[in-house]
Amino acid sequence: MPELKIILEALLLAAGEPLTLERLLELFPDEQRPERTVLRAALTELAADYGGRGLELVEVASGFRLQVPAAFAPWVSRLWEERASRYSRALLETLALIAYRQPITRGEIEEVRGVSVSSGIMKTLQERGWIKVIGHREAPGRPALYATTREFLDYFNLGSLGELPPLAAPRDLDAMGAALAAPTAQFPASSPQTEFPDV
């Protein structure tokens, strides 16, 4: 029988998609099934083997995945030039609102963005499997509540929503209110975080 980590390598390569620890355990016949801790240790060992190679082992929301690291994108992206899709700002802003504010209605998204959200964007996000309706708000019209999916996390290489880049803190509105009350007060220059590239 091959070494455990090598069997795991074969399984993850053949799967081509994330496999959970439980799923990996299931793939061993009863009498061969390793302990969870042993399996985890083997995965850690495997991940270490890939230093400097063309693949890496990552843990995303749906489990463990072998992937080609970002460093190889210059070559690999040439394989499928048509596949590397760019997403519009409108789509990314909508997705960001759903990711950070979930569960959220379309109306709430529109309120923050100050503009209506096209049905096309919601459809694209749902077709990609990145968002789903998880319920309805008890309000007139019972608007759908949207949330992100596991596939969304997998696609963006995240293990959980907690791994999303932190959302900038809202500036202290109380202090601002006080400052606004005194029309002559000067505010410090905007912090570097608000630096934007040209549109």
Binding site: L13, E93, R171
Partner: protein
């Protein structure tokens, strides 16, 4: 747009505009694309504010309102589909401007909130999510930055798991087969107890076709009287079916048994 120099670009408040707003450095050909790039009035306002390095919290409303109206006029002139939200924002800006211009009694000044406060809140909230969208876009993304590593197995078999069976299924099947068998009176099914049939299997498994086993070794006194009886009946049945062979060298000598064949 080749006659852009002479023809007015837009009319704002009845005044023809023949020049682009001063802060607009976009070549005319790109203007349309540029204007279409705005994601709504908040986006446009943020752009105007950032363009001049102004602090969101202290917007010079008069200035910003003028610039905003200039862009709106341009967009209308270019017949860009102008979302209603742009006009709502224009009305809001005009209202804020007028409220700021109204003199306020000194006593009320302390409690009254700045008319800009709500606009500032909306702009800041939107700005946060603009940043979040950019951060999301910067994450390593499948198919753009990272790619699933996969290798087809050299040998790909689909293992078919056997279906589950309930004991009831088994009994149901037996009921069917016995009902059929009953139709043919020649098939008489004898009803030994199952323990005898089971013991027959166990005895056969223990016996060797080549070597003899001591008959008495088949019995286990520890099983008690019933166990011994069951074994004895099993041996008799096996003998009757010709599956066992009994050998006794001479009277009163130990009896040996072996499997036939």
């Amino acid at each position: 747009m080749d006659s852009a120099d002479t023809l007015p670009l837009a009319k704002v408040g009845g005044e023809p505009y023949t020049r682009f707003p001063v802060d607009l450095y976009i070549p005319p050909d790109a203007l349309e694309v540029f204007l279409e790039a705005f994601e709504g009035p908040l986006d446009l306002l943020l752009y105007l504010i950032q363009r001049q390095n102004l602090d969101i919290r202290d917007i010079p409303i008069a200035d910003i309102t003028r610039q905003y109206m200039d862009y709106l006029a341009l967009m209308q002139e270019l017949r860009l589909e102008l979302a209603a939200e742009y006009l709502v924002m224009a009305a809001w800006l005009a209202e804020i401007k007028s409220r700021l211009l109204l003199p306020r009694p000194p006593a009320a000044e302390a409690e009254e909130t700045d008319p800009r406060a709500e606009l500032v809140r909306r702009l800041q909230e939107y700005e946060r999510f603009q940043q979040a969208a950019r951060a999301l876009d910067a994450l390593p993304r499948m198919e753009r930055d990272v790619f699933a590593a996969c290798a087809e197995p050299a040998q790909r078999d689909v293992t078919r798991l056997p279906p589950p069976v309930q004991l009831a299924d088994l009994l149901d099947a037996l009921r069917g087969v016995l009902a059929r068998a009953e139709l043919f009176s020649s098939h008489y099914i004898r009803r030994e107890t199952l323990s005898v049939r089971e013991r027959m299997t166990q005895v056969l498994e223990r016996l060797d076709a080549l070597r003899f086993t001591l008959f008495t070794a088949l019995f286990r006194p520890a099983e008690g009287r019933m166990g011994v009886v069951v074994t004895f009946m099993a041996v008799l049945e096996l003998l009757r079916e010709g599956l066992l062979e009994l050998v006794q060298a001479e009277p009163f000598a130990p009896i040996h048994v072996r499997r036939r064949g």
